[in-house]
């Protein structure tokens, strides 16, 4: 099959960027979207042109590296699918695909379809962990966790941090991501001791990162490759309310962006 790819090309974060159309002949319907870009990049390299930059790692839909907008939908038309797992048979011969990077102030552009998502890392750094003593591994089953609780935590923990939720949100909010990262720990017994501190810190960091606000419309969960439920946002709000009410000290200390790209947010 033959496809026209209208791709956002941008040399650096300072560059203005524009769409460039490429025609790709002989697209195998069994190829993934990323393999289709690989084929295009081979042709571009042979012609001496700059290949299209895109992020990828595992190509199994679990690392969270890849992701861009295809025809206005984050990760493309298939639900619960990352672009590396999206096969070309879902498109029609002769179709035009518009490929655009995630667009958010908190995700500054790096190059072409690659954006800087380290604002997510800073949210995790600010409280998305539990404090444990190092040393010998603890005995299994010393802390009992019910099956339902474990499943609920696992549903939230399935988040791969790809950023599609922010990309799809009309407000560019990171509520689903932050909610998932707060929820998967706060519903487990291991996460309980730091529950209040975690909610206050992670929410403060999320708000310091120039993401928008959540209007509960649900576009995020619709594009999420791991189908994280909207319920995690309520969990975040509940934990934040509870922690704000109980708060006894000034906890919020946000981490400033310390990278070249993030420092020059455009």
């Amino acid at each position: 099959m033959k496809l026209t790819l209208k791709i956002w090309r941008q040399k650096t974060h300072k560059d203005k960027g524009a769409f460039v159309s490429y025609t790709v002949d002989h697209v195998d319907p069994e190829m993934s979207m990323l393999e289709c870009l690989d084929v295009l990049n081979e042709t571009l390299t042979e012609r001496g042109e700059e290949p299209v930059a895109f992020e990828h790692d595992c190509r199994e839909g679990i690392c969270g590296s890849c992701g861009f907008m295809i025809n206005g939908v984050a990760h493309g038309p298939e639900r619960a699918t990352t672009v590396c797992q999206l096969t070309m048979r879902h498109f029609n011969d002769g179709q035009e695909l518009v490929l655009e990077p995630w667009r958010a102030k908190a995700f500054p552009a790096i190059k072409d379809l690659v954006v800087d998502r380290r604002s997510f890392d800073r949210i995790i750094e600010s409280g998305g962990y539990i404090s444990v003593s190092t040393g010998q591994a603890p005995d299994g089953n010393t802390i009992l966790v019910g099956k339902e609780t474990a499943d609920q935590a696992m549903d939230a923990a399935a988040c791969i941090g790809c950023g599609a939720c922010v990309a799809a949100c009309p407000n560019a909010a990171a509520a689903l991501f932050t909610g998932a990262k707060i929820a998967h720990l706060s519903i487990l017994p291991q996460g309980k001791p730091e529950r209040d501190r975690r909610a206050l810190h992670m929410v403060a960091q999320m708000n310091a990162e120039l993401f928008g606000n959540c209007t509960n419309i649900g576009e995020c969960t619709g594009v999420c490759p791991k189908e994280i439920p909207l319920e995690v946002i309520a969990t975040m709000n509940r934990d934040y309310l509870r922690a704000s009410w109980k708060k006894r000290e000034d906890l919020e200390a946000t981490i400033p962006p310390a990278t070249e790209w993030s420092a020059n947010r455009t």
Binding site: K105, A172, A173, N216, E219, V223
Partner: protein, 229 residues
């Protein structure tokens, strides 16, 4: 001073208000207050079907409890101001959060009502101002005479003007859209969500919004059709 004593440096209410999550909680609570008023006002209005004596007596009763009436009015005004302030601040923030927009963007998982909250809200506000000037203050009372205290007469003569009724029906329908998203969204904002309740809440929000719209617009429609004169 021990490490667990409260430090005076940051006011927790200020910190809470400054976070997007805190503002959404304020919007949820103030929204719930306004929703209670919408219900109460509807129940009062529906007395128009019981005749002039009943509704005029009800209006008179409201004016005899002066202090309580003003307490409710002030509470509502504060709620409206907070609701709008939070919305404007959050909307400006969201606008800044995406300086470069998409060339193409599809909505795949959200309701029409939820995506048009920024439109339904201001239009309903404009309607409320017009509505107060028409029926409470009596400044604007097109094509009819406003009689202080005769609520029944003011209502019937007001709604007999077709465009007043049309504007009323339009604005109330938008209020219904606003409530259809808002009634569910307020639970999410204060952190109450459960897979078993979410669908029921969404359905209830739709049903309540529909009933409110039908209840309110039954008044101008009955007047236009001549059922209430």
């Amino acid at each position: 001073m021990s490490a667990t004593a409260a430090l005076p440096r940051q006011n927790r209410a200020v910190t809470f208000w400054q976070s997007t999550n805190g503002k959404k909680v304020v919007m949820a609570v103030t929204g719930a207050m306004m929703f209670l008023f919408v219900i109460g006002h509807l129940l009062g209005n529906l007395q128009v079907f019981e005749g002039p004596e009943k509704i005029n007596a009800y209006a008179h009763f409201l004016h005899t409890i002066g202090e309580v009436l003003w307490l409710v009015r002030i509470t509502l005004i504060v709620a409206i101001v907070l609701h709008i302030t939070a919305t404007v601040q959050l909307a400006l923030r969201s606008k800044q959060a995406r300086p470069v927009g998409y060339s193409r963007k599809e909505a795949i998982n959200s309701s029409y009502a939820s995506r048009t909250m920024y439109w339904s809200g201001p239009i309903v506000l404009a309607f409320i101002i017009f509505h107060l000037l028409q029926f409470t203050a009596g400044y604007i009372h097109p094509e009819a005479q406003f009689i202080e205290g005769d609520v029944y007469h003011n209502l019937v003569s007001g709604f007999q003007v077709w465009w007043v009724s049309a504007w009323y029906i339009f604005a109330i329908t938008l209020l219904g859209f606003h409530l259809r998203h808002g009634l569910w969204s307020m639970f999410q904002s204060v952190g109450l969500a459960h897979p078993r309740h979410t669908l029921a809440l969404k359905n209830a929000a739709f049903l309540i919004a529909t009933l409110i719209v039908l209840g309110y617009i039954s008044i101008p429609i009955s007047i236009l059709l001549g059922i209430v004169k």
